[in-house]
Amino acid sequence: MSKDTEQAVSGPEKASPGRTLVEFAGISKRFGSTAALTEVSLRGGHGSVHAVTGENGAGKSTLMNLLAGVHRPDGGTLRLRGDAVTLGSPQDARRHGISTIFQELTLLPNLTVAENMFLGREPLRFGLIDRRAMRRAAQAALDRLDSRISPDTYCADLSVGEQQMVEIAKGIAAEAEIFILDEPTAALNAPEVEKLARLIAQLRAQGKLIFYISHRLDEIFRFCDVVSVLKDGKHVATHPTQELDHERLVALMVGREIGTLYPERRPQPTKRQPRLVVEALAPSAFGCAVSFRLSVGEILGLAGLEGQGQRAIIRALAGIEPPSAGTVSKAGRKSGDVEHLPASIVATARAGVGFIPEDRKIEGLYLPLSIRQNVALGMLRDQSIWQRARISGNAIEQLLAKMRVVSAGSGQAVGALSGGNQQKVMIGRWLASGVDVLLIEEPTRGVDVGAKAEIYGLLREFADAGGAVLITSSELTEVLGLCDRILAVRGGALVAEFTGTEATEEQVMHAALTGGIEQEAVA
């Protein structure tokens, strides 16, 4: 113990409170020719919430998959409670008291909560499933989490947050001591995140070890005691979260300061040339009509609390959810060349307005198709379907190289890419098609810090080259850092306008919450 205390002063081992439960000792893992992990050593103890963070591709998921029994290490030793173990399968890991809550939840919708919790290890009585014992054990596990979910509910009827609760209860029922939470808040709304926070606190109080995989800094500081940072498959550092702040943590993750995350904004000309003119547009979900202009060369942000109408406005503009009233007109490159946009996604795309949806996996990309095919779709935008497709492979390769899409080649399926690279492909499709307006929902959702900076850079470059960008974002720092102008949205109405360089987080939040006392004239 004294040795540990000595190391504690500077070494990463210090950070784990409580008795050591898991120890990665010099763990390495290769996939083909790429080294996913190189001699990673870290340990986690009872009763602690241990964040594992880093950019996408830093190796945090790989490290946790080793612990979850999904992969086996090529080198090094994994110790549980001091003994070296080999985890051959997820079941094996489960038997060792490790419960993994994958980002994509694994519950079956047509099974009840109790059935889901015991699937794969159903209790038997006379060779048949002992439903009563199963139900009782499920109820006991749910009780320990103070959950009011009934064990007889079908999981199809549960919200994502409730399903996550069931996954955790599943671990409790299996007497797990180690919980791996992989990006647990990705699909949760704010109250559900609160609930998760309480759950995590409960688990910690029960002496469990929680590995919390995330690159959401706020959550790491809120939920976690200790944070380990991985970069390029190597362990960079482990620190108690109290000893760090946002800037230092980001610096550890990306090796650069946060100031460079956002590209430089050029002062906007006083007389702006409009690209999109929105007049009395009334999204069908909200009664209010909104009017604003999107100018050439600017990035405009719609900010506000979630569900206040940003999404409805941008979708009405894109023609996905046609508005009940209002007009949108688009000025072409030549002055005086104005085109009225009908409310249909096909018409807007034809007119050179690209839309990038929040859920790119479902609404945007063709996951099984290659990167090249996904980008090439953009080139077909204004070609007749009877024409032979004119697709320039060279142009695509150049574009991908320029955007620094990291892949095994442009023939790789888009579904296999990281979030950041998928988003770049999405943007690339519209760039290849030569649009001059981009409407983007949550431009960096599920994107790691490094790729974020590159995406911001791409958008700025697009705007500087005469494009116009409208984004919605629930991350206020992003809106403040990226946008030239910010429109605060509340209850479907535009309540305030700010200049990106001058606005503060407090001002925008205030407007979004109260309707904007310090309202400036809305353009």
Binding site: P90, L108, P109, N110, L111, L128, I129
Partner: protein, 311 residues
């Protein structure tokens, strides 16, 4: 659970007002319109007529719940008929079961290990096995073993043998699907095989077993039907592949997998059986009956919720 909820999401049984209502409506309708419908003799007839279909449909349901489909089961029925009159009477049943096991294994391994689409895999084996049955027994006829005939001829407590065959098959399938690990896991596999695997379910073994059980359903139906007509026929099962799919679709089994129940299969089979019986009684041409089955399959599948489980 309120009635409202039952209609919206009837658990994973797929039982709804439509699935349960169709046979009841048909029963009442035929009782009023068809001559000689409401007689003990006719009920026994219906029972005998649907017994073979029920045996096949129960197996079909197991495959469908796991997310597959087995069109070859009709040919298994035909093959069984051909086998039992072509081998030593003492070996008739084991030989037929062995054939069923082989077919099930081949279908299951093709679908899982070689990832052939179930429709293609079982369409291929359906065609192959039909040819095989005709090779073994080119013309109908032959002597069905006496003990098999005895097994379908007896009456006990005033009820015909067909009734007991049905009860046994129903109880066995119900216990299997509702009370065993295997049963719970086929629902898991049918809903999402990847997640089932993540929870420790051996998806491959599970699927192969489903196809084997379905083939056994075909074998039993072949034994029953051949014994009942006391003669073998190498094309006896031709319509059973599609009819079993129609029956389970009528009974609320989701062909995409994950939803279905034994009561639903009974309801669907009875509905189809009553339709056949009613048309016979009223004197409709068997060709029209075949055409009607096709339309029924189309409408039964169209009426199913397109959205997957839980919607």
């Amino acid at each position: 659970m309120s009635i409202r909820q039952m209609i919206r999401f009837p658990g994973r049984s797929g039982l709804g007002l439509v699935a349960l209502g169709i046979p009841v409506v048909m029963f009442v309708f035929l009782g009023f319109t068809a001559p000689n419908f409401a007689t003990v003799q006719n009920y026994a007839n219906v029972n005998a007529q649907i017994a073979a279909l029920l045996l096949v449909a129960l197996g079909q349901m197991i495959v469908a719940v796991s997310g597959g489909i087995d069109l070859s089961v009709g040919s298994v029925l035909s093959l069984t008929s051909a086998i039992i009159v072509s081998v030593d009477p003492a070996l008739a049943v084991p030989a037929a079961l062995m054939a069923g096991l082989c077919v099930g294994l081949v279908n299951g391994i093709g679908v899982t290990v070689f990832a052939v689409h179930p429709l293609i895999m079982t369409l291929a084996s359906m065609t192959f096995l039909q040819g095989l049955a005709l090779l073994i027994l080119p013309v109908p006829g032959g002597d069905v073993p006496d003990y098999l005939e005895a097994l379908v001829r007896f009456t006990f407590l005033g009820l015909p043998a067909a009734f007991y065959w049905c009860v046994l098959a129903v109880v066995a399938t119900w216990v299997l699907t509702s009370r065993t690990r295997f049963g719970l896991r086929i629902f898991a596999v049918g809903a999402n095989d990847l997640n089932a695997a993540r929870n420790g379910v051996n998806v491959t073994m599970q699927r192969i077993t489903c196809y084997v059980l379905c083939s056994f359903g075909g074998v039993l139906a072949g034994l029953f039907l051949s014994a009942r007509v006391a003669s073998a026929e190498p094309t006896m099962g031709v319509q059973y592949g599609l009819e079993s799919v129609t029956a389970i679709a009528l009974g609320g089994v989701l062909l995409a997998g994950g939803i279905g129940s034994v009561p639903g299969v009974i309801a669907g089979t009875v509905a189809l059986g009553l339709m056949t019986n009613g048309m016979n009684l009223i004197g409709v041409s068997p060709f029209i009956r075949a055409a009607a089955t096709g339309l029924l399959l189309l409408s039964a599948v169209s009426l199913q919720p397109r959205k997957t489980i839980g919607a």
